[in-house]
């Protein structure tokens, strides 16, 4: 089916409603996500941990160059399940969005606001001509002075919601069941990191080492750390754990 002139067959939206009220493209996008490697996030009282498997299809791949947990701004980080290239593009847009916010307000966006921006970008890909939805689900972890640490999931449809703990990707059902049993509202960041590693281990194919997983951590700054020196930079509250740190946690 093609229309005359102006874009031809690709000028109308590829996400059109089915008679049952579903957007089939989004369903397919979710299927792509569920084929992706497992990622999870756990919110603790004093921080958040996000983690993912770094699965390479071949031992010849230099996996030190793969980045699945990405920093967006000093207080927010992303992890994903699904299509890597789509994630890369979203990270790029999210970083730009965070900087645009900084340029107006002199501070980085709160987690919820940035999540909303990214969710809007993902939604636009479900209602525009000639584009397909993003084939990733994101877990967004961040800290801001208004709401403290927050963890959000964003789906290919563009819907987002906050979690205390969640998993996405291949093993999400088992992982979430595991998390439901082990999660409590008073969990500390250290316990959350251990729980995250145990949860990942449950569905891990192959050896789980510091080279095959990536971990990102959000911490709550002390009141001294929150003071930004004039003309200086705000102290990051999101960081990725180094291989040594991951190895130490795995050894425990």
């Amino acid at each position: 089916m093609s229309a005359a002139g102006g874009g031809g067959a690709y000028s109308f939206s590829l996400t059109t409603f089915s008679p049952s009220g579903k957007l089939v493209q989004i369903e397919h996008a979710l299927a792509a996500v569920n084929q992706g490697t497992t990622s999870l996030g756990i919110k603790a009282t004093n921080g958040i941990v996000i983690a993912t498997e770094k699965k390479s299809s071949s031992i010849l791949i230099d996996d030190s160059m793969i980045e699945k947990v990405s920093i967006i701004c000093p207080s927010i980080g992303f992890v994903y399940s699904g299509m890597g290239p789509d994630f890369r593009v979203l990270v790029s847009k999210a970083r730009k969005s965070a900087q645009a916010y900084w340029k107006i307000y002199g501070e980085y966006p709160p987690t919820r606001v940035l999540t909303q921006e990214v969710a809007t970008i993902m939604q636009e890909a479900t209602q525009s001509g000639g584009v397909r939805p993003f084939g990733v689900s994101l877990l967004v972890a961040g800290w801001d002075s208004d709401r403290g640490p927050s963890l959000y999931q964003v789906d290919p449809s563009g819907s987002y919601w906050a979690w205390k703990a969640s998993a996405i990707g291949k093993n999400m059902v088992n992982a979430k069941t595991f998390l439901e049993k082990r999660y409590n509202d008073d969990i500390s960041l250290e316990d959350a990191i251990h729980t995250a590693l145990l949860t990942l281990k449950e569905g891990f194919e192959g050896q789980m080492t510091e080279k095959t997983i990536e971990i990102g951590v959000v911490t709550v700054p002390t009141s001294e750390e929150r003071v930004v020196p004039v003309g200086g930079r705000v102290k990051p509250t999101f960081r990725k754990l180094s291989e040594e740190e991951v190895r130490d946690y795995l050894a425990l």
Binding site: I104, Y105, G106, E107, P110, R112, V113, S145, D146, V230
Partner: protein, 204 residues
Amino acid sequence: MELNGGSVVAMVGKNCVAIASDLRLGNQALTIATNFEKTFPITDRIIIGLPGLATDVITLKERFRYRVNMYTIKEGREIEPETFAHLVSSTLYERRFGPFFVEPVIAGLTKPSEGSVPFIAGTDLIGCLTLPKDFVVSGTASDKLFGMAESLWEPDLGPEELFETISQTLMNAVDRDAFSGWGAVVHVITPDKVITRTLKGRMD
């Protein structure tokens, strides 16, 4: 900048800030209004003073109202004084090569959970932010306001003392300026409330 006239001053006190403006609106030498306030509330704890070209004063106050409303709804929280100051700065710089002829003054208190810390800031017409600890002056009587404030201001003035100090600063400065005066309004922002008083001055 001397078409309409007008001046604004803001000062920091102990757990309070004050901001005051004159009430004159003129067309060069001719005074056409004596009730033209140049201070506008942004939130319960932030007030902006906008001296300069009157049309830009009105336009900017409405533009800031729009942007702050959008911020409040989107973020689900009130804007903080320093964040608002950056918003003012970037809004003015957007018009770098065709600026608004105003030199805003911002005064506010941070939110209670952050300690209700006094905050003042001033910018030039293209958004250069200054964040002094003591006072900010702007408008046609700015030179005179500098002199008055420098001599009268001292740190840790309480709300009542700050009111007296800022009032004397403004009244005596605008009395030396042909384009400012014809009455004044003073707001003192404390953690509980904003106290607004209108001053009787020389009507010339």
